[in-house]
């Protein structure tokens, strides 16, 4: 999709690298810097349990990780913290990608279907793997429905619904970010002053909610796969 202006188009290799790949790498770089900063703070001589005194990057990230951990415990139950690296990583990456799109001249890499499909197919493979790891071949019982004679019918339906999960995850994120970005660019084109602020605030809210929805749905899928209720 054509963007009015991006900083990316000024770069010499702009026609060789896809725009969403470049912006993903930008977010990777930012996150690596943040992680390096936190690691240095944890390793630096003092007791790592004592938080920093000022309002710092480490404290912000600790609040975020605490919130994600609380959500995981609420959704998956005990043992939920095992999945923190995957789900927390997805949340922070998607949130940073989305929020990058609110800055004028940058493009959220999540408004391309390729980025989202990569993430949601990873989620699909991971939750099925976890299900098989937890239940063994009995995991297939979850697909068979409540009674045996309905199994042939239920199996097809469940298979389709499972195959549709990664698609709906990625299309939801794509549609939201794409639509939000388009509304923002159209209104900045119509009225360049003041009015886009409303849509930027909307963009920030949508960014947060979509990152939250993606990671929460991932947690729900994992919880459904590893639960023992069935």
């Amino acid at each position: 999709m054509e963007h009015p202006f991006t900083w990316f188009s000024l770069l010499p290799f702009a026609d060789k690298v896809p725009i969403h790949v470049f912006h993903s790498c930008l977010v990777f770089l930012m996150l690596i810097l943040v992680a390096w900063r936190i690691r240095r703070s944890l390793r630096g001589g003092k007791d790592p349990l004592i938080p920093e005194s000022r309002f710092s990057v480490r404290n912000i990230i600790e609040i975020v990780v605490q919130a994600i951990l609380g959500q995981l415990h609420a959704i998956i139950g005990h043992g939920g913290e095992k999945y923190l690296p995957l789900i927390g990583g997805l949340f922070i990456f998607i949130f940073f990608c989305n929020i990058l799109g609110v800055i004028p001249g940058f493009v959220p890499s999540t408004d391309n279907l390729n980025t989202n499909l990569a993430m949601s197919i990873t989620v699909f493979l991971v939750y099925n793997y976890l299900g098989f790891k937890e239940h063994g071949l009995k995991y297939l019982k979850q697909f068979a429905g409540p009674v045996l004679w309905l199994a042939p019918l239920m199996f097809v339906i469940e298979l389709l619904s499972h195959l549709f999960r990664p698609m709906s995850l990625s299309i939801r994120l794509f549609g939201n970010m794409f639509g939000d970005h388009m509304v923002l660019s159209i209104f900045s084109g119509l009225v360049p002053l003041v009015v886009p602020i409303i849509f930027m605030i909307l963009g920030i809210v949508v960014s947060l909610i979509q990152a939250f929805v993606f990671s929460t749905l991932t947690a729900v899928y994992i919880a459904l796969a590893v639960s023992h209720d069935h």
């Binding site: 609420a74 299309i171 939801r172 549609g175 939201n176 929460t216």
Partner: protein
């Protein structure tokens, strides 16, 4: 007596609503059918007639589809928000527990609208 009366009222209201819906649908169908005919009468020998019909269909499909999807999604999300707000009003202490399922429900409803949005974008790109 009251029940009968209200039943009769409800019946009358239902009839009126059905009539309105019928009129709206008929108008839409007539519009959809009539506009290309009018165009064909005006410039029947023009070569771009088929092309116009295709573009007309694409534009109408994208616009109407998006409108219908937004309508349905709005109704669904309105019901979700109403139920959640009612729950929170009855028991404000439990609002944290209602908030997350509400957001997930809203996202699941919204994704159905977004499918139409993407289809509309595809259609609009073909015009």
């Amino acid at each position: 007596m009251d029940g009968l009366n209200s039943n009769a009222q409800k019946g009358a209201k239902g009839m009126a609503r059905r009539r309105i819906v019928g009129v709206v649908v008929a108008t839409l169908v007539l519009l959809t059918l009539a506009v290309p005919m009018v165009y064909a009468e005006e410039g029947g020998e023009a070569k771009g007639g088929g092309d116009f019909l295709m573009k007309f269909g694409l534009a109408i499909g994208a616009g109407l589809g998006m409108g219908l999807a937004a309508f349905g999604g709005g109704l669904g999300q309105g019901r979700t928000a109403a139920a959640a707000l009612e729950g929170i009003a009855r028991n404000p202490g439990a609002s944290d527990k209602m908030f997350v399922p509400m957001i997930i429900g809203l996202a699941l409803i919204e994704s159905l609208v977004l499918y139409t949005f993407i289809i509309a974008i595809f259609l609009q790109g073909k015009i």
